[in-house]
């Protein structure tokens, strides 16, 4: 069971442009614009993308008791829970990011070290009872990376993907420009722009507090929420890296940021005080 509304798509013959859209996917909206393909080719790609997003939405939705992440959360406390191969890779990838971001990225939001990995059986267990995994800071980036692979398989060289405004992937360039240009809105004053970013074959991730969605980023070390009214944008080639790094940057100290810049291939990272 998932909370996905029926998506819709449209083809603009004159511009050889396809637009596909899904609402209520991973708690947000997904839009893709594919340039230069026929209607039939675009629809075929869209079907693949839609299926993939629905699959991931189900797997990572911790509200849905039937999802794999929910089962992990409910059955891994002091118990070895066998996870799928894909989830094994995801959780190990989260472990890698946890280490590389100096503990700033943490899917437990508390103490990543309470997750015990058993490589032989691909099982995990929680050594404490109050641990829950939350892939909210990971899922959209992972989804974008999967979609990026689908697009590569179909030789798409001009495409714009917007996953909930906070994760945006640009492949190739705008049909009438040399890149894709997006501007970042101030969520506390929607008519003002805080930055404009041009990108080609790169992914932009934006994190921060908004008036309606504040204190959602938890600082794992303190257990407290980030309360400052600020945004962080991170532009990277890899959409998953960008997703993880934007959250980490938001709560990182100045020294930690410098270390993150050394460790990751960041094209551009900025902070905006609102």
């Amino acid at each position: 069971m998932s909370e996905i509304d029926t998506g819709y798509f449209n083809y603009y013959e004159r511009s050889l442009m396809f637009h596909g859209s899904l609402v209520n996917i991973m708690g947000t909206k997904f839009d893709i614009i594919i340039i230069g393909k026929t209607n039939n080719e675009s629809e075929e790609i869209w079907i693949r993308i839609e299926q993939e997003l629905r699959r991931l939405n189900f797997m990572m939705n911790r509200i849905d008791p039937a999802s794999e992440i929910s089962k992990i959360n409910s059955q891994s406390i002091n118990n070895e829970f066998k996870v799928s191969d894909e989830m094994w890779c995801i959780l190990n990838n989260c472990k890698y990011y946890h280490e590389q971001t100096l503990g700033l990225f943490d899917i437990t939001l508390k103490d990543f070290n309470t997750i015990q990995f058993n490589k032989r059986n691909k099982t995990i267990s929680f050594s404490k009872s109050n641990i829950q995994l939350d892939l909210g800071g990971y899922a959209k980036g992972y989804g974008l990376k999967k979609i990026q692979k689908i697009l590569e398989a179909y030789n798409i060289d001009q495409c714009f993907v917007n996953f909930g405004n906070s994760s945006i992937l640009g492949i190739g360039n705008h049909p009438f420009g040399d890149a894709w240009k997006v501007s970042i809105e101030n969520p506390f004053n929607i008519n003002t722009i805080v930055d404009e970013i041009s990108k080609s074959n790169a992914s932009l991730s934006v994190s921060g507090n908004t008036p309606s969605y504040s204190r959602h980023v938890v600082i794992p070390k303190s257990g407290k929420s980030e309360v400052d009214n600020k945004l962080v944008s991170v532009l990277m080639h890899d959409p998953l890296d960008a997703e993880v790094l934007s959250t980490a940057f938001l709560i990182a100290s100045k020294i930690e940021r410098e270390q993150l810049i050394d460790r990751f291939r960041i094209i551009k990272a900025r902070e905006y005080k609102l």
Binding site: H19, D31, G164, H174, K181, P187, V206
Partner: protein, 442 residues
């Protein structure tokens, strides 16, 4: 006083005159015939004459109207009447030269009075109006028309047989923003009317202090069925009148619910009502009134296929202007379609649902205008009340009847009463044949 008179009275007169200079102005006036004679020229014509006015009922609303009529150059207040001494004394201070009465029938016997203004509890409207018309007086009465369907019909029938003027205080008919807004609707600005939503919210118990328990029903008459029809006749009547005016039809049926949800102080009338009126073409009026929460205030909203008209607040919104506020992805699609390359405002910390804030509001009238917040029990400034009183006083001099005013009041009041009947019976009520008048189109 003269300065205020000029301000109050001439504004609408000039507005009506100006209609003569704009394209379609004649059509507008033809559609709102009660405004035909309310012109600057007519004001000049009657400049030296004065209507002799008697007030029946000098409580808070009566005193409000005394203030207004005192400022009208073509009116003199010659008599006042109230059977509640404090009200009569208060009114006497406002117009010390007026003769005082405690029995309205005695006032009606006076040959020195041209017209009477009735501001009494609803249950007294019918006997007082009928007596006043019989006595040969021109009559202005507060809304609603009367307490029962039979009384409304009796008044309507009496009006058909008299040459006297009869006005009801349907002040929205004299409110510039309503006049202009309805004209815009009839000109097709918001397309076909597809729905109407009216609401009136207050947070007040609707009570007045009483000097002794014996006077409870006399003073707090609004709270008891024998004296009042509650929220429907006190508030909804104005709004249902506007709905019919905009739609140019009368609903053929109504269903509703009413309850006392908060002010459980022994009152009989509801403090919460929700009703649906349905026109023959399926369009509905959704009506809601609640007097224990004032957050939403008051609005008369006409929903069209091409836009929305908020008449009470004097603004409208157009559906096709959404294009100006397209989401980032929509702008990008539009850019590519038009071979344009520029930045799209799409990035942010989270996705914002597309809500009504992307509509642009437009004022119905240019410049400053008054908005009735709907919170006063007595009346609001510049809501058309002063203008309709001025028009009545003018009619007392000229003897010209105000076209459609009685008919509009009749249909608004009967709809309110039918709404209460639907609530009480818990079923859908159709407009009864015996109460239909030729003016009504269903």
């Amino acid at each position: 006083m003269p300065n205020r008179q000029k301000e109050v009275d001439m504004s609408l007169r000039q507005f009506i005159k100006d209609l003569g200079y704009i394209s379609g102005g004649a059509t507008i006036l033809a559609g709102m015939p009660w405004l035909q004679s309310f012109t600057p020229e007519k004001a000049k014509e009657i400049k030296k004459e004065k209507a002799r006015i008697g007030f029946i009922g000098t409580g808070s609303r009566g005193q409000y109207s005394i203030h207004a009529v005192s400022a009208i150059a073509h009116a003199d207040i010659v008599a006042i009447c109230d059977n509640y001494s404090p009200n009569l004394q208060a009114a006497s201070k406002l117009c010390p030269n007026a003769k005082k009465y405690t029995d309205y029938r005695k006032l009606l016997e006076s040959s020195d009075i041209d017209g009477v203004i009735i501001s009494t509890p609803l249950y007294l409207h019918a006997p007082m109006i009928l007596d006043a018309l019989s006595a040969g007086k021109h009559v202005f009465c507060e809304k609603s028309m009367a307490l029962t369907m039979d009384e409304c019909k009796a008044i309507y029938d009496a009006y058909q047989d008299t040459d006297r003027v009869l006005y009801f205080c349907m002040q929205r008919m004299f409110d510039e923003k309503y006049i202009k807004g309805i004209q815009m609707i009839h000109d097709g600005l918001i397309g076909d009317i597809v729905g109407e939503r009216c609401y009136w919210f207050r947070n007040h118990d609707w009570r007045r202090p009483i000097p002794s328990p014996q006077l409870e029903r006399q003073i707090n008459w609004r709270l008891y069925w024998d004296y009042s029809a509650g929220l429907m006749t006190e508030l909804a009547s104005h709004q249902l009148e506007v709905c019919c005016w905009a739609k140019q039809l009368v609903p053929e049926s109504v269903m509703g619910m009413g309850d006392t949800v908060f002010w459980k102080d022994g009152r009989e009338v509801y403090d919460s009502v929700n009703l649906i009126y349905k026109y023959s073409d399926g369009v509905k009026i959704n009506y809601e009134s609640l007097i224990s929460n004032k957050f939403n205030g008051m609005e008369d909203q006409i929903l069209g296929s091409k836009g929305t008209m908020n008449l009470a607040t004097g603004v409208y919104y157009l559906e096709n202007e959404i294009d100006r506020n397209k989401s980032g992805i929509e702008q990008l699609i539009s850019q590519i379609g038009n071979k344009v390359y520029s930045s799209v405002p799409t990035a942010g910390a989270s996705w914002r649902p597309e809500t009504q804030d992307k509509y642009t509001s437009h004022q119905i009238l240019s410049g400053k205008f008054n908005i009735n917040q709907g919170q006063s029990m007595i009346g609001a400034l510049k809501d058309g009340s002063d203008e309709i009183l001025s028009a009545f006083c003018q009619a007392c001099i000229t003897g010209e009847k105000g076209d459609n005013i009685v008919e509009e009041a009749y249909q608004a009041t009967t709809l309110c009463l039918l709404g209460n009947e639907a609530i009480k019976e818990g079923k859908k009520i159709f407009f009864p044949e015996e109460y239909k008048i030729p003016y009504m189109k269903f």
